[in-house]
Symmetry: C2
Subunit: 356 residues, 2 copies
C-alpha cells in the first residue's frame, strides 16, 4: 500500500472545551484517521479527514457479528509543550493480536504508529495542559462488508479518533471498593478475553451494574472455569502487595495483557521489588488478608494508570485493605509512570515517543 | 410510544434476483423497518423507509463495545400465495432475553411482530416461490450513542432488514462432517452464549476456520469449563438419536434456545418418541457410537431447518454416523417442519402466522 497519508483539513474548528468539566469520551477533535481494507488491495488509502459520521450498509458485519477490535492509549503535553505518546508500539502489537483472534487482516504496526503521531500532531492544540489531563487515542477496526453469513467479512475500515480527557483524579486519589463477581464471567480460555474485541465489553455491563448495586465501583472478575482464580478488575489488570512481594495474575489466555501492567512489572523489577505473575485464588488472597500480610491492592490501565483498591466485597465479607487508604507503593508507581508519561521524570526504559 | 408506523416508500424498486444463484445474505429488499430509543421517550418513531446506508458517529458504542443483539427468522410463500411467518413471537421473546443480558432496553414484542408482518407485506413480492426458498428476516438492535466510557449506551436503533434466500439444499440434502473443537470456546455459563449478541459470532470465526482446515463444514462446540460436554454445532443446536431415544443438550446458560430446537422437541413428543434434554458428554456419545446405538445426528436452526451430520471428527477418531447418510427420523422432522412452514402440511401447533 502507499504510505502517503492524504490530509483533508476541516473547514472550521470546534471550540476547545474545559476538559475538567467533561465526562470521559464525550468530546472528539476536528479530525480522524481512516484507511480501508479490501482483499484485492489490502489496507489502502490512509487519510486524515474531518471528524464526521460514517455511513454503513445496515447489513455491515460489525452490526451483526461484532467483528471489531480496538485500542486505547494517550498523548500527554509536557511542560515544554512537547507531545508525548506512551509505548504506542505496544498498542499496535496488541491490535494485531486481537486481529489474529478475530480473523481481521493484520495492520502494519510501524506505519500506524507514524499515522497516529501525524494525526496527534495535527490535533496538537487539543492536547490539554493541566495536570492529569491528556488526549485519549482510540484506534479501532470494524468489519464493513454487507453480508449476513457467519464468516469473516471481506472489507474493513480502520479509524482513529481522539478525545481530550480531564484529570482522572481531579478530586484526589480515592481508593475504590470492588465487588467480587461470582455469577457473570468476563472471559474464558479459548475465548476472546486476551483481546480487545468489542463484544467483551458489552458482555461486562451487567456485572458492572451488579457491582454498583452493592455500592462498589468495579467488579473483580474470577476465572470462568473454577470461579476461584482472580483475573482482572473492571477493565484493568490487578496487583496485590503481599508480605513485601507483588503478585499479579499470570497471562493465562483469558486476561488482557495491559500495557500499564507490563510497565508496572518492569518498574518493580527495576526497583528490586519481587514481583510474581502467578495464579492467585481468591481464597489465597483472603488468607493473606486474615493473616495481615495483604498490604496493598491496585488496578492498572491506561485511563487511571493506577487505581488503588480500598476494599473487596466477597460474598458476606468486606476486606478493607491498608485501612482503606492508597498504599505507598501504589502511589510511588503512579507518580513514576505519570512522571514519565508527561516528561517530568526521566524515562530510562525509552517508553515515550514524541508526536512530532 | 405511538404504534403508528410511518411508511415512506422507495421511489424505484430493485430488480428481483434469481435467488437460487444468490449467496445467502447478500441481497436486500427495497425497504427496512426502523425505530429509535432515547431515555426520555423510550422506543419511538417506528417507520418503514427505503433500504439505505445508516450514518453513525465514529464513537457509537456498537463499534467499540459491541452492544448489539439480533434475531433471525423466515417468511415463506404458500402454494396459495399467502405469506407465512414461523413462530415470530418466539424470536421477539428471545430478543428481549438478549436485550436483558446486554443491558439494552426491552422492546414491545407484540408490536414488533406486527411491524415485521407489515414490512413483509410491503415486500411481499420479494418472498420467493420455489421450493426451499424463503425471505430471511433479520431484526437487530445497535447502540448508537457516541460515547467511549464502558457503560451501556443511552440511545439505540432497532432495524429489520430482509433478504431473499435460495434453497439451502439446492443440490439435495448432504450430511455434513463436523469437527469436535477442543481449543476454542464459544460460550461459558455466566457469559452471553444463551443470547444472540453480535460478539458471540465474531468469536467463533477462528474455530470455523479450524474445522475447514480439517475438511469439516462446522464445529461441534464443547462446554468451556470441562471441555467434555456437547453444546452446539456451528450456529445450530444439536440432536442425537441413540437407541430409539433422542437426546439434545439441556439449556444450561451457555446454549442458545433455538426456535427450531423447541419445535423439534414438540414434534418428537407429539410422535411419542422419547426425547431427553440432558448433559451429554462426548465420551458418552462415543460409547454409544462404539456399541452401535448412535443412530442419527443432526443440527437444527432457522437457515437449514435440519442439517444431518454424517460424521464427527474427534481427535484422531472419525465417527461415521448412519453410514454417512441422512437418517430417516432427521428427514421426517425436516419434511414436517418445512411442510408446516410453507403451509403444505397441517399446523396442529399454531406455529405459523400470516403476514397480511
Ligand atoms: C479488559 C481490560 N483489561 C486491562 C486493561 C488495561 O490495559 P492497558 O494498561 O493497556 O490500558 C484494559 C484496558 O485498557 C482492558 O480493557
Ligand atoms: C448459536 C446458535 N445456536 C442455535 C441456533 C438455532 O436457533 P434457531 O433454531 O432459533 O434458528 C442459532 C441461530 O439461529 C445460533 O446462532
Amino acid at each position: 500500500m502507499s504510505y502517503e497519508i492524504e490530509v483533508t483539513l476541516a473547514e472550521s474548528r470546534k471550540a476547545k472545551p474545559n476538559v475538567n468539566e467533561l465526562a470521559f469520551g464525550t468530546c472528539f477533535t476536528d479530525h480522524m484517521f481512516m484507511m480501508d481494507y479490501t482483499p484485492e488491495t489490502g489496507w489502502h488509502h490512509p487519510r486524515i479527514v474531518p471528524y464526521a459520521p460514517i455511513s454503513l450498509d445496515p447489513a455491515a458485519v460489525v452490526f451483526h457479528y461484532g467483528q471489531a477490535v480496538f485500542e486505547g492509549m494517550k498523548a500527554y503535553r509536557t511542560k515544554e509543550d512537547k507531545i508525548l505518546l506512551f509505548r504506542p508500539e505496544k498498542n499496535m502489537e496488541r491490535l494485531n493480536l486481537s486481529n489474529e483472534r478475530l480473523s481481521i487482516p493484520p495492520v502494519n504496526e510501524t506505519f500506524l504508529v507514524e499515522a497516529i503521531k501525524k494525526l496527534v500532531s495535527i490535533e496538537k492544540e487539543w492536547v490539554p495542559a493541566d495536570e492529569g489531563t491528556s488526549l485519549y487515542i482510540r484506534p479501532f477496526i470494524i468489519a464493513t462488508e454487507p453480508y449476513l453469513g457467519v464468516r469473516p467479512a471481506r472489507t474493513y475500515t480502520f479509524i482513529v479518533i481522539l478525545s481530550p480527557v480531564g484529570a482522572y483524579y481531579a478530586e484526589g486519589i480515592n481508593p475504590v471498593s470492588i465487588y467480587v463477581e461470582n455469577n457473570y464471567v468476563r472471559a474464558v480460555k479459548g475465548g476472546t478475553g486476551h483481546t480487545k474485541t468489542s463484544g467483551n465489553y458489552a458482555a461486562s455491563f451487567k456485572a458492572q451494574e451488579e457491582a454498583q448495586k452493592h455500592g462498589c465501583a468495579q467488579v473483580l472478575w474470577l476465572d470462568g472455569v473454577e470461579k476461584a482464580y482472580i483475573e482482572e478488575v473492571g477493565s484493568m489488570n490487578v496487583f496485590f502487595k503481599v508480605n513485601g512481594e507483588v503478585w499479579t495474575p499470570a497471562l493465562n489466555g483469558s486476561i488482557l495483557a495491559g500495557v500499564t501492567r507490563d510497565s508496572v512489572i518492569q518498574l518493580l523489577k527495576e526497583w528490586n521489588i519481587p514481583v510474581k505473575e502467578k495464579r492467585i485464588s481468591i481464597e489465597e488472597l483472603y488468607a493473606a488478608y486474615t493473616d495481615g500480610t495483604l498490604e496493598e491492592a491496585f488496578g492498572t490501565g491506561t485511563a487511571a494508570v493506577i487505581s488503588p483498591i480500598g476494599s473487596l466485597k466477597w460474598n458476606d465479607k468486606n476486606l478493607v485493605i491498608n485501612g482503606g487508604e492508597s498504599g505507598s507503593l501504589s502511589m510511588k508507581i503512579y507518580d513514576t509512570i505519570c512522571g514519565i508519561q508527561t516528561g517530568e521524570k526521566e524515562d530510562p526504559f525509552g517508553w515515550t515517543v514524541e508526536a512530532e
